[in-house]
């Protein structure tokens, strides 16, 4: 409980004042983190997250996450790729430099199909990767959660719930109580310098 964050003492030189930004609660089992997530969800929090060393089945439901928007990004990119291929070949082989290949007319659908297919897949893959980065707001150089030394075990054998202080439902005492009731083994407030 009485954990002091020495990590960012070094940075004190640049600016002075600190303010709390995150409430970090540590759990020691998947069952506990699962039920904690359900409690936080039911309490109506919106700006919070769960950090675990491995995916936990059903956590999306326990956190009340809606379906990912990624599919729509991928679909839009797929359609863009498909149309780009058609447009590109139409322009090149019909408008700009008509060329008869293999005795086929300049605009013949079967010969366009492989290119359209490949560009659809390529754009979809780009959409999936970069869309995922975008939705997760990556890449990101800094996050206050890494001020916590205990958080290093999120990649090993501990499970964490982090709730942002900005969350409209956040109340230092009540939120701490909620997490304690959910059998958190350790709770700490993470502070960050005001820039």
């Amino acid at each position: 409980m009485a954990s002091h964050d020495h990590d960012h003492d070094n940075e004190k030189k640049s600016a002075g004042e600190k303010k709390p930004v995150l409430l970090l609660a540590e759990f020691d089992s998947t069952a506990k983190i699962f039920h904690a997530a359900e409690k936080v969800r039911d309490a109506g929090f919106t700006r919070w997250d769960v950090h675990t060393p491995f995916p936990i089945h059903g956590m999306d439901g326990a956190m009340g996450l809606p379906d990912s928007r990624l599919g729509w990004i991928v679909a839009a990119m797929a359609l863009t790729g498909f149309c780009s291929a058609l447009g590109m070949i139409y322009y090149m082989n019909v408008v700009d430099y008509p060329l008869i290949i293999g005795g086929k007319p300049p605009w013949s659908i079967p010969s366009v199909a492989p290119v359209a297919f490949e560009l659809t897949i390529l754009f979809s893959a780009f959409g999936a990767v970069f869309g995922m980065f975008g939705i997760n707001r990556l890449p990101r150089h800094h996050h206050p959660i890494f001020f916590s030394q205990r958080f290093e075990r999120a990649t090993d054998d501990r499970f964490f719930v982090s709730i942002e202080v900005d969350d409209p439902k956040y109340d230092e005492k009540k939120t701490r109580k909620l997490l304690e009731d959910a059998h958190a083994t350790h709770i700490e407030v993470i502070e960050e310098e005001v820039v």
Partner: protein, 467 residues
């Protein structure tokens, strides 16, 4: 762990007085009616009936083999998600013995198929080869660029382009047909058919017996035994289905071959199998059976497989078409020529396969929300099942040439004789006969066994599967 709670157990055996208990009787009655029609067809026009029966039989055979394949891949991958629905697949697989009996009439009808018109009486194969392809080559000049294939560079009077083309084509056809002679040796042919039927019958019987036996014995070793049998079963299935499709479907155009043909048949069969499983599973659930052993998560996954294999089907079908279209070599294009230029009535059917079997279901079934809405998923499954039947009609019937027994017949009929679809009442009665008899056996098995593998060690995990 899962947020959704599973409560309903559902009935695991067919009630003695529900609609599912008498389903097999209805199917059997339809089958009997169909068989009577098939008999009448055989009496009136055995050649036309041969094509109808082959079309209907192959549509259901590929579906049946598809369900067998589905069962085998569940064992090879030690899947737990599919345990509940696996029994439904096993019922369809268990009906394969009915298909084996339905296979037998094909032997009585085989003399009417083009490959046996050719190889059946080896002495006159030269003449029949010309008869079979003379009609297709009549009156089209768009293959002009292939005139060089003709080996007879004109001495003296220059032969016409069309003449060159025809002569060259016949040369190539003749060579191909000579090479295939060994494959169509009758003894070899019948040995092959015996192997196919034995493999299909034995595999379906074995997997059905093991799985249903486990219901009572509760022996976990059975699960291991089925997994051990799976790898070589897959190899046997791949080989037998490929060669059976060569023998009965590809050979309808005796001089034509495509190495990917067997894959297209396999892929299409698996799509139909997934569609049939989805519809049967939904039907059982609607009547209050199988409870949460098969729930929305399983239907979602089945929808994914149906969608995925439908893409695969389109992919291999297009690959086949694309290479042939690009190379545009006459002995290769005959397959598509018969379904496009030679008889334009087939053009809408060919297009319907591209649009209704692939494009529309592809867009429709892509969304997670559609696959998780049972009415919409059922609509997709019905569409794909109907298109599966259309695909077989498209594979078989263009090869039906009424009375094209000799060169003169082909010449006199010419192009204008083949400008409509050869639709006949025999197509319908054949579908009813094969479908009725096959489904009668499937539905009968349903009334005799548990509707899910109650003693499968993975059943509990399957119930809590989530996407």
């Amino acid at each position: 762990m899962s947020a959704t709670s599973h409560k309903s157990e559902g009935k695991l055996e067919i009630d003695s007085n529900g609609p599912w208990s008498s389903a097999w009787k209805i199917a059997a009655a339809v089958g009997a009616l169909g068989l009577a029609g098939v008999g009448a067809g055989f009496a009136s026009d055995p050649k036309r009936l041969a094509f109808s029966y082959l079309f209907a039989f192959m549509a259901f055979l590929t579906l049946g083999i598809g369900t067998l394949f589905f069962v085998v891949i569940q064992h090879i991958s030690a899947a737990h998600w599919s345990v509940g629905i696996r029994r439904t697949a096993e019922f369809f697989m268990g009906g394969i013995p009915a298909l084996i009996v339905l296979f037998l009439p094909l032997f009585a009808l085989m003399q009417h198929f083009p490959q046996w018109e050719h190889y059946g009486h080896a002495s006159s194969h030269g003449a029949t080869a010309q008869a079979g392809h003379g009609a297709q080559q009549a009156g089209h000049g768009e293959h002009g660029q292939q005139a060089g294939h003709g080996e007879q560079a004109g001495h003296g009077e220059r032969p016409s382009l069309h003449e060159l083309e025809t002569r060259g084509l016949h040369n190539v056809h003749h060579q191909t047909l000579e090479k295939k002679k060994l494959w169509f040796d009758k003894t070899f042919f019948f040995i092959r058919q015996a192997i196919y039927l034995f493999v299909w019958g034995w595999l379906s019987w074995r997997f059905f017996k093991l799985s249903t036996g486990q219901d009572k014995s509760k022996d976990k070793k059975v699960t291991v035994a089925m997994a051990r049998s799976a790898p070589w079963s897959i190899a046997l299935l791949a080989l037998t289905l490929t060669f059976a499709s060569f023998d009965w479907l590809m050979a309808l155009e005796p001089a034509w071959y495509s190495t990917i043909f067997g894959v297209t048949i396999f892929a299409g069969g698996l799509v139909a199998a997934m569609a049939a499983l989805i519809l049967t599973g939904l039907g059982l659930k609607k009547a209050g059976y199988i409870g949460d052993a098969v729930n929305i998560e399983h239907f979602h996954d089945m929808g994914k497989l149906m969608f995925g294999f439908n893409c695969f089907w389109a992919y291999v079908c297009f690959s086949q078409f694309f290479l042939i279209w690009y190379a545009s070599i006459p002995e290769e294009t005959v397959f598509y020529h018969a379904r496009w230029n030679e008889n334009p009535a087939w053009q809408p059917v060919t297009m319907s396969l591209a649009v209704l079997h692939f494009a529309i279901p592809f867009v429709f079934l892509m969304s997670r929300n559609v696959k998780r809405r049972m009415n919409l998923l059922a609509l997709g499954a019905i569409t794909l099942l109907v298109m599966h039947v259309v695909e077989y009609y498209w594979l078989v019937l263009p090869m039906f040439k009424a009375g094209a027994h000799g060169a003169q017949a082909a010449a006199s009929h010419g192009a204008e004789a083949h400008h409509s679809l050869p639709v006949s009442w025999m197509d319908l009665v054949s579908l009813l006969a094969v479908g009725g008899v096959y489904l009668a056996m499937v539905f009968k098995l349903m009334t005799q066994h548990k509707l899910i593998p109650v003693s499968d060690p993975r059943l509990e995990r399957s119930k809590h599967h989530s996407n």
